[in-house]
């Protein structure tokens, strides 16, 4: 294969606090992001390890196309054994670190070990000269925005950052990993949120990673002219199309409500009376008087689905106030105002928490009588107090299951220990099959199918194909909101390396990624008993049609059996 040569990877040993740059194996050239993380974890991480112990492995892997001129291709995958699910986890984020690592020719960081003193903090600095581990005690306990503000004084403007907040340092299992966006202020607003990988990073004493590409250029494909032509055409076609995400995912709120997938009060209802005040249209309306607007979170993005939200005084408040956050921290908690949800979103980004898991946990606390439904100020207080280590703060920061245990509550909507996202499996049965069979647990980005009328005999195929398409997308560096299909991705791969990638090969890349992850989970002790939807979702009916999860478990089991390829799958767009 031609294309970029001399790629390397960075191996970090946090027990010895060393970093070594080594060659990246040629055999992994078509692996990036999620698929690369899965392969490394299966080969180098003992699936029976303690996720917060020295044996866990944290992988930070941009996609195959990251760092090139392909549009919206700079996503980065964080991977490891999840302390939330106790299985394999991949969480994906935007921002600039993925682009910057790949421009320098670093295909991934692989972080192992653990400092002897759990109170020490370190950082990894990456640039064209290499990588090194440096002390970072001065930044211990800092919230993410303050951290980045302080780091800006020590690193060039060209640097981007990957960091954890106090939640990760406290090893809370809802902790996220933040990446900075491409704004001048470098907001730590792009989170690899699901599954508690922030706690894994914290368990390794790693507070942040600084990546400075300096003057590094975009990666050059083997077939440069054709690659550029494809990128220009792709961009032109996309911009001439319906631009479905021009106002961000928050604009999905009203249609999700119509479809009974805007959960209210800990998922006891599928629609919310507060849909109008949580609608993303209110955020868009605020731009006229307060400023803010839509922007791209990474250089080279053409979708611009991310919103920059200002407060009533016109000052920056938060970025990427998304549908899932408006649902789990809004509707699901009966918090009616998008402004309050914006405050909660900012707090989660600061402390370093997954907004989905945190929203689910707060809703369980409310449902169990711990506080009133809709108490936004109370929710903000809890998040502010998390870093003080209160019992309630720890439980909320540890997510839905921990909060349910603390409160001895019966309604805990999780699969494999991870809270259900906004997209509810009761109206969306095929998506529910994804939640049950995906190695990730309840994760809509693993394979979302929004087709309530889909006949039952098509559910398994729909889920399996969505899981495969999304696995390939999350390995490529493309953002799911660009909605590439497998033919798009293999075309780019072929031009990058100068060798055609067939439909069978690209499908195998996706299937092998899923297989590696299922095998990791099997070795970690997972069985079919872990593929069950919780009782509350089987029993609590929603909507006029009284929808419950009533999918036979045999259908979930069928999702693991590879179906014959069909041409339609290669035109199917990524959806998550």
């Amino acid at each position: 294969m031609g294309g970029p040569t001399g790629d390397r990877m960075i191996r970090v040993d946090m027990t010895k606090q060393t970093a070594e740059v080594v060659p990246f194996p040629d055999a992994w050239k078509l692996l990036g992001g999620r698929a690369l993380s899965a392969r490394i974890l299966l080969e180098e991480c003992d699936p029976s390890c303690d996720p917060l112990g020295p044996g866990n492995v944290l992988v930070m892997a941009p996609g195959v196309l990251s760092g090139t001129a392909a549009p919206t291709s700079g996503r980065i995958s964080m991977g490891g054994k999840s302390p939330l699910t106790n299985g394999i986890k991949e969480a994906n984020a935007g921002g600039n670190p993925g682009q910057d690592l790949m421009k320098l020719g670093y295909r991934c960081l692989v972080v192992k070990g653990q400092p002897k003193d759990p109170g020490k903090r370190f950082a990894v600095e990456v640039d064209a000269a290499g990588a090194k581990v440096v002390p970072a005690d001065a930044h211990k306990g800092k919230w993410n925005y303050k951290l980045v503000e302080d780091l800006a004084g020590s690193y060039p403007q060209t640097a981007s950052f990957i960091s954890i907040g106090p939640a990760g340092e406290m090893r809370l299992t809802g902790a996220s990993i933040a990446c900075t966006d491409q704004e001048q202020a470098r907001h730590p607003a792009r989170h690899a949120a699901r599954g508690g990988l922030g706690a894994v990073m914290g368990s390794k004493g790693l507070k942040y990673v600084a990546v400075d590409p300096g003057k590094a250029r975009v990666r050059q494909p083997e077939k440069r002219k054709e690659f550029m032509e494809l990128s220009k055409k792709y961009t032109k076609d996309y911009l001439a199309g319906p631009l479905m995400f021009k106002h961000g995912t928050s604009s999905v709120v009203p249609v999700a409500n119509i479809l009974q997938t805007f959960p209210y009060k800990n998922r006891t209802e599928g629609q919310s009376p507060d849909v109008a005040t949580l609608d993303g249209a209110r955020i868009v309306e605020s731009f006229a008087t307060r400023g803010g607007g839509m922007h791209n979170c990474m250089t080279g993005c053409i979708v611009q689905c991310s919103n920059v939200v200002h407060d009533r005084d016109g000052k920056y408040k938060t970025s990427a106030l998304e549908f899932e956050t408006l649902t789990l921290l809004g509707s699901n908690c009966a918090i009616a105002s998008w402004e309050d949800v914006a405050d909660l979103d900012r707090l989660c980004d600061e402390v370093g928490l997954d907004t989905i898991e945190t929203g689910a946990a707060i809703a369980i606390f409310m449902d169990s009588g711990g506080m009133a439904w809709g108490d936004a100020e109370g929710a903000k207080r809890i998040l502010r107090e998390i870093s003080q280590g209160s019992e309630l703060g720890r439980a909320i920061g540890n997510g839905a299951v921990a909060t349910g245990k603390l409160r001895k509550h019966h309604r805990v909507p999780v699969v494999k220990g991870q809270a259900l996202p906004a997209w509810d499996p009761r109206p969306l049965k095929a998506t529910g099959i994804t939640y049950c069979s995906s190695p990730m647990g309840a994760d809509h980005t693993a394979g979302l199918i929004v087709n309530p009328g889909l006949p039952q005999d098509q559910w398994v195929r729909a889920s399996q194909e969505a899981q495969l398409v999304n696995a390939v997308t999350d390995s490529s560096g493309f953002c799911q909101f660009l909605q590439p299909n497998l033919d798009d991705i293999r075309s780019y791969y072929g031009l990058l390396y100068g060798e055609e990638v067939s439909r069978e090969q690209i499908a195998d890349l996706g299937w092998n990624c899923l297989s590696d992850e299922w095998e990791f989970n099997r070795r970690a002790g997972f069985t079919e008993k872990d593929d069950l939807m919780p009782e509350c979702i089987q029993q609590d009916a929603i909507g006029p049609a009284k929808l419950v999860w009533d999918v036979p478990q045999e259908l979930v089991a069928q999702a693991y059996e590879r179906l014959p390829l069909r041409p339609e799958m290669f035109a199917q767009k990524a959806a998550g």
Binding site: P242, M244, F245, T249, S250, S251, V252, P254, V255, A256, I258, L259, A281, E322, F323, E324, A422, W423, P427, H444, T445, L448, I449, V450, N451, P452, G453, L454, P455, Q480, F481, Q483, A575, G576
Partner: protein
């Protein structure tokens, strides 16, 4: 008769049907005709005041039309496609 293409998120009321031929001569007429056959469909496209939801995009024969043109005429063989942004992190 025009043909209405129903996007996957809206196929709940239609029982999975993706293409529905209706006897109508306008965009609004088509939506109402589909709803008459499959109750619940119209509410997904039009709000309580009969306006097209902000999150819906309409195409006639592949050309996007402004949401305000919900009373645009349709003729024999015309294709009305309804799109809604569905995905979300």
């Amino acid at each position: 008769m025009p043909v209405v293409f129903v996007p996957p998120p809206y196929r709940g009321p239609t029982g999975g049907a993706a293409e529905i031929r209706v006897d109508a001569d306008s965009v609004r007429g088509c939506i109402e005709a589909v709803d008459a056959r499959f109750p619940g469909f119209q509410a997904q496209v039009l709000d309580g005041q009969g306006r097209v939801h902000r999150f819906v995009t309409l195409f006639i024969n592949g050309d996007e039309i402004p949401r305000e043109r919900v009373d645009a005429p349709l003729g024999e063989g015309d294709r009305l496609e309804i799109l809604a942004a569905i995905a979300g992190g």
